[in-house]
Amino acid sequence: MYVAVKGGEKAIDNAHAWLSELRRGDENVLELSVDQIREQLSLAVNRVMSEGSLFDPDLAALAIKQSRGDLIEAIFLIRAYRTTLPRFGYSAPINTDSMQCTRRISATFKDIPGGQILGPTFDYTHRLLDFKLAAEGNRTKAQSQKTEAKSTPHITEFLNKEGLIQTENDDGSDPPDLTREPLEIPANRAIRLQALSRSDEGFLLGLAYSTQRGYARNHAFVGELRIGICSVEMDIPELGFSIEIGEIEVTECETVNQFVGSKKEPPQFTRGYGLVFGQTERKAISMALVDRAMRWKELGEENKNAPAQDAEFVLYHCDNIQATGFLEHIKLPHYVDFQSEIELVRKLRKAADQNKKQEGK
């Protein structure tokens, strides 16, 4: 005899215990420490921080450990934790001119003031599995050299001196906060950039790639890509001045794009912008391309109905925590709705059957 669905509570407890056991894996293998994840899987940590919208490498590493390496699950843990944090205030905008760059490249100029710094990149590695890494571990030491802290000018500003690139105008208004106000369309550029910066890397990469393949192509050059440490300052009303409250690593990408012009206005290059926590250059470049694609209206371009131009489509679907939640919820019980569908289909089939029989007569 059927027993009404009982035992949900016990099932949940058992499932959690099993999950925990599998997370640990074979106990003959040393357990991963959070420090190891933070130091040795730092690019995963960066992704979790950027899409989790919380700069905290230790917590991101913990989230990666807890999620068994499922980065979207780790991002989700960070986002849920972020909800519980009180908001003390807003920092001053970070100044990326004074970034201490670990990497800085331009694809538009051969030599640039401040110099190109290749930095710790995979770009020119040959993707051959390094079996030595499995056997002996990694013992390479890089050479180091003292540098002095100095401001590094942005390449696009050199173009701007000649008027060759459009000037970004600051209208002086406070940017809205996507995490404190509901998303409403049309969204201004500040909201769009916030959404892109925390959006899913894969989704954004695909969209950016689609613009390169002709869906609202905008001829992007990487004007500059820089990665490094920036200090974060905050105004303290009691003190009457701003103080440095910490440092964050960010990746910034400025693209130089398709020029626009008219009979009255001489042609000018346009820009796309990407800024993401940590060393996350694939994401920052993608962000700049999609940002640029969404600026079609402001720059007087044609709407080609390309996915990347469609701010409403992009903003409503770029967040992987929203997307994965709604996608995966279809595995929750839907007995009741399914039952009503069964009843309806049975009823419609019966009616169709009768109609057929009558026609047969």
Binding site: Y2, G8, E9, P186, G325, H329, Q339, L344
Partner: protein, 287 residues
């Protein structure tokens, strides 16, 4: 680690309460609110959880159901969440609860004016599947431009001979807003004109809407094709009720099946009152 009462901080609760009040003032209107990331995924009832978290007081007694049942996994999980973060008593008894959070059902027992029913809503926009753009659907509501919905229902009839919507059946509230009742079976639609306050929370979509007590709620239909609430044409195999909504359960691999109340609390009360139906007369083969 100690969280604030019911997890959310007081500022966030205030923001959500404002949205609820606005929703109550404009029944059926979807109020945007700044939904927070909760420790359960979007799609698991984060909207309902945020609404419940914002209205709960330490004196409340909470009931959580999913598919009508208190013991489905997600109902258990949400109940535990509030036991842990709000330390409030919970109950499975519909009568005893002051706040009932639900997914996909309205309890069989009529609710009272001292109770609040909180719905978990996946897609709050009844026009969404006719027009995917939020920027468009908000205009359509503002202009009461609901022709597209009527055309859809008409096309259903012309193709299938009946309105082919069995759950999340759209309603019109106080002759003004077309509203999604959340994915309850259309059997439950008539119950929405009730004594209790009804609050709807859609977390991922960042919308809250509400129905004050005794609000006029009419399921959309046509004069010659009137709305029909429907359920399986059987009695419950456990309690014998012929008026409650039934789940169909497959009991063997030969196609055998039985029907039981989806509202487990109601079913148990009926059994306590009348005894279990031992030889159910409704285990006949399906037509």
């Amino acid at each position: 680690m100690d969280y604030n009462f019911a997890y959310l901080d007081e500022q966030t609760k205030r923001m959500i309460r404002r949205a609820i009040l606005k929703g109550l003032a404009i029944p059926g209107y979807q109020v945007p609110f700044s939904s927070r990331e909760m420790p359960m995924p979007y799609g698991w009832g984060t909207g309902g959880v945020q609404v419940s978290a914002s209205i709960l007081t330490p004196e409340d007694r909470l009931k959580v159901i999913d598919q009508g049942a208190d013991d489905t996994t997600n109902a258990v999980s949400i109940r535990k969440f509030f036991e842990k973060t709000a330390k409030i008593p919970t109950t499975e008894n519909t009568e005893e609860a002051t706040v009932i959070q639900t997914r996909h059902r309205i309890p069989e027992q009529p609710l009272m004016d001292s109770q609040i029913l909180v719905y978990q809503v996946p897609i709050p926009e009844p026009l969404r599947f006719l027009e995917p753009r939020e920027s468009e659907t908000r205009k359509m509501h503002a202009l009461q431009e609901y022709g597209l919905m009527h055309v859809k229902l008409y096309e259903d009839i012309s193709i299938n001979g009946a309105i082919a919507t069995s759950y999340a059946y759209p309603v019109k509230v106080e002759d003004r807003y077309v509203m999604d009742p959340s994915p309850i079976p259309k059997f439950d639609n008539p119950k929405m004109e009730m004594e209790a306050v009804q609050l709807f929370g859609a977390g991922r979509e960042q919308r809250i809407y509400a129905l004050p007590p005794f609000t006029k709620v009419r399921s959309l239909d046509f004069e010659d094709y009137p709305f029909e609430p429907s359920k399986a044409d059987y009695k419950c195999n456990l309690c014998g009720s012929d008026s409650s909504y039934l789940d169909e359960v497959i009991i063997d691999d030969k196609g055998g099946r039985m029907f039981v109340c989806s509202d487990t609390d109601y079913c148990q009360k009926m059994i306590a009152k009348h005894g279990e139906v031992s030889k159910p007369d409704n285990q006949r083969a399906l037509p």
